[in-house]
Symmetry: C2
Subunit: 317 residues, 2 copies
Amino acid sequence: MEELVVVALGGNAFQSKGERGTIEDYMRNASYAAKAVVHLIERGYRVVVTHGNGPQVGVLLEWMERGKDVAPPMPMDVANAMTQGWLGYILMQAINNELCSRGLLDRVRGVVAIVTRVVVRGDDPAFQNPTKFVGPYYSEEEAKRLAQEKGWVMKPDPRGGWRRVVPSPMPIDVVEWRAVKQLADSGWIAIAVGGGGIPVVREGCSYRGVEAVIDKDLASAVLATLLGAQRLIIFTDVDYAYIDFGKPSAKPIKEMTIDEARKLLEQGVFGEGSMAPKIRAAIYFVEHGGKEARIGHLRKAEEVIEGRSGTRIVPQR
Amino acid sequence: MEELVVVALGGNAFQSKGERGTIEDYMRNASYAAKAVVHLIERGYRVVVTHGNGPQVGVLLEWMERGKDVAPPMPMDVANAMTQGWLGYILMQAINNELCSRGLLDRVRGVVAIVTRVVVRGDDPAFQNPTKFVGPYYSEEEAKRLAQEKGWVMKPDPRGGWRRVVPSPMPIDVVEWRAVKQLADSGWIAIAVGGGGIPVVREGCSYRGVEAVIDKDLASAVLATLLGAQRLIIFTDVDYAYIDFGKPSAKPIKEMTIDEARKLLEQGVFGEGSMAPKIRAAIYFVEHGGKEARIGHLRKAEEVIEGRSGTRIVPQR
């Protein structure tokens, strides 16, 4: 069977800086993401696609808050599920239509988005220390009222104002991974673990949704491992992982082993909100048997796929 | 292989009259729907689940409208996709947990919701005559402004105020039906065509989303036909299709052939906004090879499944 590649798309697959976020913006940005996926199909790979949802889940939480007298806002797990439908559909359309215009529709059985639950531990320490800012900005007074009223943890956001923080626990399993595998094995391009997946904890043989967000790169790495994928490609809006990122001495990393990557992580070389989780995801995947992970710019997808751009993370040299 | 049943759930699978629509309301109502599905699994059937989204898509359109300065509201096709994630997730949880508590998890491989596109014709006459009320209520003045600004068709709603109307074209195909079939054939309970599915028109080999809503019972009948299902069960909040519904002379119909059903439809016996589309869906399914369709009350699901309640629509006597 052809090699399986898991492609993890970042926020720029849907929205670029300065855009309002209309459906036209989404479709145009998604068409670039689709080109990356279709390039892999053309090269003979099987592909599973994952994606982020940060800006969209933020927008959705604000929409629900503004309209809370219309109907009670839904919790975080349901908000994630909504964005899986929303963004999964947009990706389905974009990939479908790119395959069509390139005359490559016969290479796949179709494109299909699976609403995916991702399991986290109820005793994950993240639940004691929520760190991920989500949703609207409030005044300190409103924030304190919401903390009391809803039991939310509210913190001042470094960008100004007060916001809710939610836990970001480690993903440990993907409930529907066998459905994803079955579809991928029989020629479908499957879209899964959107926005890191719907966070659930296991209670015996049942699942309970929790108010948390799961890092989409880590969830992608867990899914890629469960699927036995050979490669994980994380597309983002920088072309390499860098040493001294943003400084005049900035140096792109073209290749590193997981041991080297771990050392650089420990030294705090990678930004916590941006590159560090991608490096952790790459390490997780490669140490669990993945051949190689790559991190590169979505708009240079072909070069990343051909190995002419992007950072490669390998087991050893 | 075991007989395949398509179960179409109505609005009462999520919300009962008078409820605010909290996540707790949704989960409690969905647990009744889950009992129906699990009863079929226990009886040895394979099951594909479909569901409506009328109240939820209405709420979502209002949320987006109230929060339109946060981000541009998404169009109807995307709104449908969001509700497929939302309600698909809630059903997955409810069915999963019901299987767990009944000790029947080993009967299935899992529960999986597929984001589904449903094809309509671009030249469907419904596009010339939009009839389906959706979203917020407006004053006449606001309605006329929106009509001009967004090109929406606005009409006075018999319930008061002005609202947007959108076309309700006939479903003719389900893009992802083969993925649904593959999963159902290998033991998954698949959830599909939520809210009638995301309406798309085919343009060559590509698809374009359209601003419309598809009747969920008709979409379910088209899906059931494509899957080669033996039975279609439409669960709603009345126990039978009636002659003289709501009158003292009301008479429940226990069984009718599709010819009889067609005659009663022509006579206007069934309410257009409620029972008529269910009867049409039942006729469509049975005339395309389905063994039998049933329409009954969700809270009497066991009796409906055992044939002790509900209206049976059969090919002939």
